[in-house]
Amino acid sequence: MPQRSSVATLAQMNTYFHPRLQESRRVAANRLRRLLRLWPQTLFHLAATVALLALLGAGIARIDGDRIGLVLRLLAAQPLVVAIAFAAFGFAMCRSATLALRTELKLGWWGAAPVPEAATRRSLHLNAIALTLFGNLVILLVLAGIVLLSRRSTPWFAPLLLTASLGFWLGSGAGYLAVRRLAALRRSRITQLHSSAALLPLPALDHAQLRHLPDWQRRETVRRWRSGGRNWQFLALGLLVPMGMPLLPLAGLLLLGVALIWYGLALRASEDTLVHATRLLAALPLSFQRFAAGTLRYPLFAWICASTLGATGLLLQSARPIVAALFILAIGLGGLISLCLSWRYRHRPHLARVRASAEVSLLLLLAYQLPMLAPLLALAMAARHYLAARSLA
């Protein structure tokens, strides 16, 4: 009776772990079966992956491992910085993954299932440990790859791996405990923490015919900002601050960092809201131009704020005005491409993000080689995406 034994196994598992683990196992098995059923497609994907890996391998083989090794040896000489950096990554990864899983188990379709609290806790433990092990494996593989590429002795390998791994475990543990602490807070306190009410009303930001749409973007930004979604970036920013830095340049660096972190968050929240609004307003007589005008206002406001803060930060660090102007132009064009892609792929936001990362990376490379051409290309790309978005309406 395989069915009965399967049910018995499930029941036994439930006492130790959350049935979500069984769900993942079954989903994986279904995917595998689907891959086998669609074997020509699977074969094609495998061949393509092998070809890409071969290309990647050929590219990696050309990297000067000794030069990277030198950087890593220098890093190994600063164990505290390395440990803190990896702790920050571990914290961010474990906190966000555990929080997402905990929310899913509590509020998702398993929410009302009679699962013992201890089984849920054990599953969260297991997930955090598995993630940290995976992270450690990635660190080990990257460092081992550099050792393979290096032609000289690699005395930095063991100390760096140990420091990175220790930092990663500590950060990951702290991330896990942060989620546990959040779970222990009373509901009212959590609601208060995540309140989205803005400090200052900005009626001028509103669109005459799409009232509250910019406000929706703004409130989503404020909610994410207050819930600490970008705290790990502040930790990374803290690592960039050199010891004994004079007060004015320090203020400038912090201003620049905060402006960039906030701008990234505002842009992302605005784009997510745009995707949500697309679905909400789908059956309304709304032209794309009007929708675009309504959803442009808040990101534009965010760009003006981030430009002002960031440029001030740069000037405080004694940067030349042309650098500040280039900074304003760069974040403006980056934001514009990202926003135009979000309009274009408003029904497929994941694709918008992937393309935004790829295109911004391409533009950065181009800006390095042909700085005069990059802004023009950026504008052309944004215009192309806008026209494509408009044609979909």
Binding site: L210, H212, L213, L280, L281, A283, P285, L286, S287
Partner: protein
């Protein structure tokens, strides 16, 4: 001019053909119930006619405006109740109504919408954020958003779900008034036949991607007059006759 014209509508999810050549014409003032078992394609049909899904074949015209050729005009003439799961959690009910009113080119929330909000006991929630709403309250807001501006065609998908009896009654009265006084056509997808039976002027049965039965007002009146039968019973007989699959 018809409030709604659907001709040869086909929509498939992968190899699964959910709508298989649907034809339907609604006249102004008709209050039509769209019925059918689970998975018969009711929601897909409504989403196709609202322009949310693009059908693979066929044409949809709302009060003379073709959805495929002139979506903006067609949507101007259509009111489609919003799925409560799509509501923005961080806005208040009033802000949502103002947003929709603006998108429809209305300067402010129409008085009729505020009156309906009052009748649905929604007024006290107007200035609360959606995240504070119960399921029924969200449903009310979704309906109010769909009815804003009282366009010629109103489409509602299971609007009575989660509504308390008083609110459900008030909504039905309001819809009947809209059809009789404003000449709006209402298309309502529902499983609650006993609820629909007393108010509708027409009923269509969707089965296997096709509209297989159409009861006009005379047929419905005959059903109502006969104490030995009901719309539910007639529908069950029709389902058996057309071979609806039993999944329970």
């Amino acid at each position: 001019m018809s409030a709604l014209e659907i001709a040869g509508l086909v929509h498939a999810y992968g190899p699964q053909r959910v709508l298989d050549g649907v034809d339907l014409v609604l006249q102004p003032g008709e209050f039509t119930a769209l019925i059918g078992p689970n998975g018969s394609g009711k929601t897909t049909l409504l989403r196709c006619l609202a322009g949310i899904l693009q059908p693979q074949q066929g044409r949809v015209a709302i009060a003379g405006a073709e959805m495929g050729l002139n979506a903006l005009t067609a949507k101007q003439r259509l009111g489609f109740a919003v799925d409560p799961t799509l509501l923005p959690m961080l806005l208040t009910g009033r802000q949502c109504l103002e947003l929709f009113a603006g998108a429809r080119g209305l300067g402010q929330i129409p008085a009729a919408t505020l009156d309906l909000a009052e009748a649905l006991a929604f007024s006290r929630w107007l200035d609360q954020e959606v995240q504070a709403y119960s399921l029924g309250t969200r449903q009310k807001l979704g309906i109010l958003l769909g009815l804003i501006g009282e366009p010629p065609l109103i489409v509602l998908d299971e609007p009575m779900n989660g509504l308390d009896p008083l609110s459900a009654f008030a909504l039905k009265q309001h819809l009947v008034r809209l059809t009789r006084e404003q000449g709006c056509a209402v298309l309502l997808a529902t499983h609650a036949l006993e609820v629909a039976e007393r108010f509708i002027s027409r009923c269509v049965l969707l089965l296997g991607g096709k509209l297989v039965r159409d009861w006009d007002s005379a047929a419905l009146a005959a059903i109502r007059r006969d104490p030995g039968t009901s719309l539910e019973q007639v529908m069950v007989e029709a389902l058996q006759r057309f071979g609806a699959p039993r999944t329970d």
